[in-house]
């Protein structure tokens, strides 16, 4: 399955947009945190898990989805939210904790909910899978179209929830696609030290579903595997598992010393964005002028969202008591 030229540019643009967003968040996050790194300080307090390097997973999958399809994401959600079309202004405002944020600042960067595009995420490992299965079940029971995609890291494949959700989706033949973003590290623990099989895609066999393995963080490899899995789900043929070898170009979280990573390991990783850019230029899908315009437009979109967030107010503190129930 080959993406069209438009889809290629869409994927590239969303990668650029996501990365620039992360770069700006990184800089803003550090405001107030140097030289003393106190997580509570600065315009963006709390933990911050950047997705730099993992963009191919998000765009290659979401290129096949509409706003009506469901996505559940992880503690590292920004690239997926961007690709799924989450309202960027409201998302960035949420990351700043502002009143105009998706939840008025109650959730923050690990708990982004945008019902308009059926996107949500959770800070607990493996806990996006059950809700994706349930959303797919809901569509099946209501006779409505749509697929659910659950993103997770490779560490989540060792959680009970992973195995239970895959089995449940398979036994009920639900329109779900499970996507593993394998960045090789669960905080400080290397995948090979925590996972009994070299490839998590092989675990799909245990639940009678297709298992796809995408090597080398390949954007169009993700596109092809996701296209097949999502088409299969839409046809009512049941769930699939996709494992993508991706890269974590940043630390687990901001401030991570990463002393646990072998020397030189990170330097050997390939940034997927310049590589895809070169491929698109080579293929004639993009030229230098179009690229410059696309990048400038994406940057301006991010800057506009940041301005929106910065200019927004916080909710009054007492609003903390609201929306516990509807």
């Amino acid at each position: 399955m080959q993406p069209t030229a438009d889809q290629r540019r869409w994927m590239y643009r969303n990668m650029v947009l996501s990365r620039y967003l992360e770069e700006r968040i990184e800089a803003l996050y550090m405001e107030g945190k140097t030289p003393v790194f106190n997580m509570a300080k600065g315009p963006i307090p709390g933990e911050m898990h950047l997705s730099n390097g993992q963009e191919p997973c998000a765009v290659g999958v979401c290129a096949h989805l509409t706003a009506d399809d469901i996505v559940t994401a992880t503690h590292r959600p920004h690239h997926i939210a961007v690709a799924k079309g989450v309202d960027l202004d409201a998302m960035v405002a949420e990351i700043f904790g502002k009143a105009t944020g998706l939840s008025g600042g109650r959730g923050g960067h690990m708990h982004l909910f945008d019902g308009a595009v059926n996107f949500s995420c959770s800070g607990i490992i493996g806990e996006g899978l059950g809700p994706a299965v349930g959303a797919a079940l809901s569509r099946q029971m209501q006779g409505k179209p749509g697929v659910a995609v659950a993103f997770m890291g490779e560490g989540a494949a060792n959680q009970g929830a992973f195995h239970e959700a895959l089995n449940l989706a398979a036994v009920w033949q639900l329109p779900v696609v499970f996507v593993i973003e394998d960045n090789a590290w669960g905080i400080s623990v290397a995948k090979q030290a925590s996972t009994a099989v070299p490839r998590n895609a092989t675990r799909a066999a245990a639940y009678g579903m297709p298992g796809h393995h995408v090597a080398d963080n390949d954007v169009e490899g993700v596109y092809a595997a996701a296209g097949e899995a999502i088409a299969r789900a839409r046809e009512g043929l049941g769930p699939s598992l996709i494992e993508i070898e991706t890269v974590r170009l940043a630390g687990h979280f901001m401030g991570d010393g990463e002393d646990y990573r072998p020397k030189g390991e990170k330097a050997g990783l390939t940034d997927p964005i310049p590589r895809y850019r070169a491929a698109l230029l080579e293929a004639g899908v993009l030229d230098e002028a179009a690229d410059a315009a696309l990048v400038a437009e994406a940057h301006e979109r991010v800057e506009a969202a940041i301005r929106f967030a910065q200019q927004s107010d916080f909710l009054p503190p007492e609003a903390a008591l609201e929306t516990v129930f509807v």
């Binding site: 140097t34 901001m254 002393d259």
Partner: protein, 78 residues
């Protein structure tokens, strides 16, 4: 004889500034060579400062003060 305790140049990579998060010995106390005396934090990573010799500790940089590699943080009087 007075010996300086400075932040070692190889304590962490790069030239980022750090902060003293804890003195693990009170000012004026006797410490032995190799004793852990302070913790320095650089972003989320914590590094240890040991006494290079034995002696009476005189703190020059208090907790929460910002330090760089080479900063004199205390002296030891033998």
């Amino acid at each position: 004889m007075t010996t300086d305790i400075t932040v070692p140049a190889d304590l962490w990579e790069g030239d980022t500034e750090g902060v003293i998060t804890a003195w693990l010995v009170n000012d004026g106390a006797e410490v032995a060579q190799g004793d852990l005396v302070a913790e320095v934090m650089v972003e989320k990573a914590q590094y240890e400062i040991e006494a290079p010799v034995s002696g009476r500790l005189s703190i020059a940089k208090e907790e929460d003060e910002v330090v760089s590699k080479g900063t004199l943080i205390a002296t030891l009087e033998a």
